[in-house]
Amino acid sequence: MSHEDGILLWRGCTYRNQLPEELKSIERVLRRVDVAFSTLEEGCCGYPLFLSGYQREARDLAVENIDEIGSFRLIVTACPACLRAFKEVYEEHFGLSLPPVLHLTQFLDEKVKEGVLTRDRLRPVKLKVMYHDPCELGRAMGVYEEPRRLLGLVPGLRLFEQRFTREASACCGGGGLLPAFFPSLASMAAARKLTQEDRVPEDLDAVVTTCPQCILNLRKGLEMWVEEEGLEDLQVLDLAQILDMALGG
């Protein structure tokens, strides 16, 4: 099969295996903005191999993956780790060549610029949210503005600005495979981030982010370690879920 004009939504194994609801929102949002895309029965992008030090194995997997994805016109992924794997590890580190790859927020931001995704298509979402910069997307890939512009488009949404954002933002603790090495410490870091670093207010409805690792770890942190009053109902949502709500669910 030739994919020469096609867009691939690389879903990534974390979304596929652990966040099916969030993944549905991602796919629905793309359909709502009239994007025809393909998906694959993809496995791992190889990033965990690279992170844990198994570079040779990561490269082997990259070569296998390129067989499957190399002929698409564009690859879109909502997982910053996959994004970084493709752009930094495959291309820069291993010198392999790939079609252009965009993070979902970068791709949707283009749709805004093209006039496809417009404010008048969005219904109000009456929530107070805080955007958390995933380290892999922000500091690592320099994507700070696109997610904020997308959230800024949603009527009714109020944005809480935490103490540390963008380059200075506090990591959720879910990176670097710490959740594998020491899961309780990773989730404890998430709790500290929200309460001590970000100092989330009681009336915050949701922490919004756009990384499956962050979502999982922040949720675990809230569940396991946060006892502060007023934060019992705090949710952690994927940015795509907010857009999904705004686009009519």
């Binding site: 190889g46 191999l49 030090g53 194995e57 670097g176 495979l177 710490l178 981030k193």
Partner: protein, 420 residues
């Protein structure tokens, strides 16, 4: 090896967990983090050009590392010219042998500001030689008497509450103390005062060494650096090769940058020491040993630093000024203090552990604790890219089969591949 390694990892994780569960540590650290940030903001406001200076210093440090051999020789020449002694010690043993030759059984040794000396396991070795060793920085003094290990590079006793200090001092000094910080500081002052006077040897580190004059720069706040380097007959400086910079001006740049990033507007004391004390007041005849030390020894320690310099990724670690900024902004350190580390702490500590003390096996669990978030780099005056170094270290660890089982197992599960 596998089993022992896993046991080492297990012990490390247990220590991390105990620290994470310790309310004292958490409270002490969260206070420390916030007050550090407040003080740093105040210092940066007063001296807004510090970031620019840090950038300049980065260049100086890179230059110095790449010219370390000639600069070290220059230090040696200058120090000897000024009637001091200098040795470029390739190994810990060489350094220790030299220092051992400078002390006698029964000597009282006072120390200030030298984390590098820990690479030599200096205190126990001096004790084996029959010396009595006193750490004189208040924090180090507390740690030494607790028999614990330093928990921060600048504030080693960051995790110890005033109540525990009071208890400890009562035991050490044989009388009761209230948990009142000024009283406790006064008690340490009184106790150590006589040790300074008794001491035959003073040992210090260096914040910088200027090659053009062989001058040691030493920053201090408590005043103990003055006494350690001024009262005993002998002063021994122990410094890693990376502390050398070309000129006196460069040394001042280090002082300025490290103080501001370590959250001081200005440190109380900066000592510049070039050689033993001397006088020429009688007939213009210079004699050595006036009011200050008669002997001045500089031990420049390699201990794998030159090997680090040869590696373009790891080299950057040697720009480190030990300002501690990265630790306060770390994702993990504020939860567990220096247990996230070996002697040197935090993500960068993993690299120092590999090269300077502890080796690959001890570096491994530290390397896999780092979340690779990269926030430290944003706050580091030397813009040291810790994630880049950790990734390299992890690939070396994987080559040697030193990936902790929990990590390897997880990655096998995700990728469906058998590893190793």
């Amino acid at each position: 090896m596998g089993e022992n390694f896993e046991r080492l990892v297990g012990d490390y994780l247990q220590a991390l967990w105990d620290a994470a569960m310790d309310d004292h540590i958490r409270l002490a650290l969260s206070r420390a983090v916030e007050s550090f940030r407040r003080n740093r903001a105040a210092a940066f406001k007063l001296y807004p050009w510090v970031e620019e200076k840090a950038e300049r210093l980065r260049e100086v440090k890179d230059y110095s590392l790449l010219h370390v051999d000639e600069l070290a020789r220059e230090v040696k020449d200058r120090v000897e010219d000024l009637h001091g002694n200098c040795i470029i010690a390739e190994t810990v043993e060489e350094a220790m042998e030299y220092i051992g030759d400078q002390v006698k059984p029964g000597d009282v040794v006072v120390k200030a500001k030298s984390i590098t000396s820990e690479e030599l396991h200096l205190n126990p070795r001096l004790e084996e030689l029959g010396c009595k060793v006193y750490e004189t920085d208040l924090g180090e003094f507390i740690i030494q008497n607790l028999g614990s290990r330093p928990m921060h590079i600048l504030s080693p006793a960051i995790h110890v509450s005033r109540e525990r200090v009071a208890e400890l001092f009562s035991k050490v000094m044989g009388r009761e103390f209230p948990p009142d910080i000024p009283t406790l500081a006064g008690a340490a002052r009184e106790f150590l005062r006589e040790k300074f006077l008794e001491a035959k040897v003073g040992i210090s580190g260096a914040n910088a060494i200027a090659a053009e004059t062989g001058t040691t720069f030493l920053i201090g706040n408590e005043g103990n650096t003055r006494l350690v380097t001024g009262l005993p007959e002998k002063h021994i400086v122990i410094a890693g090769l990376e502390k050398i910079v070309p000129t006196l001006q460069d040394g001042m740049l280090v002082v300025e940058v490290v103080s501001r990033y370590a959250n001081y507007k200005a440190p109380a004391y900066v000592s510049l020491i070039s050689g033993p004390s001397k006088t020429g007041d009688i007939e213009k005849q210079i004699v050595y040993g006036a009011h200050g030390p008669r002997e001045y020894h500089v031990v420049l320690l390699d201990n794998h630093r030159r090997e680090m310099i040869k590696d373009p990724v790891y080299r950057q670690a040697l720009r480190c000024l030990r300002c501690g900024a990265c630790l306060y902004e770390c994702t993990i350190y504020p939860l567990v203090a220096g247990y996230y580390g070996y002697l040197y702490m935090g993500g960068i500590g993993a690299v120092f552990t590999k090269y300077l003390i502890g080796g690959m096996e001890n570096a491994a669990p530290i390397a896999y604790t780092c979340t690779l978030c990269g926030r430290c780099k944003e706050y580091c005056p030397m813009k040291i890219d810790v994630p880049e170094m950790i990734l390299k270290l992890r690939s070396e660890l994987a080559e040697r089969g030193l990936v902790p089982e929990r990590v390897r197992g997880n990655v096998e599960e995700i990728t469906g591949r058998k590893l190793e």
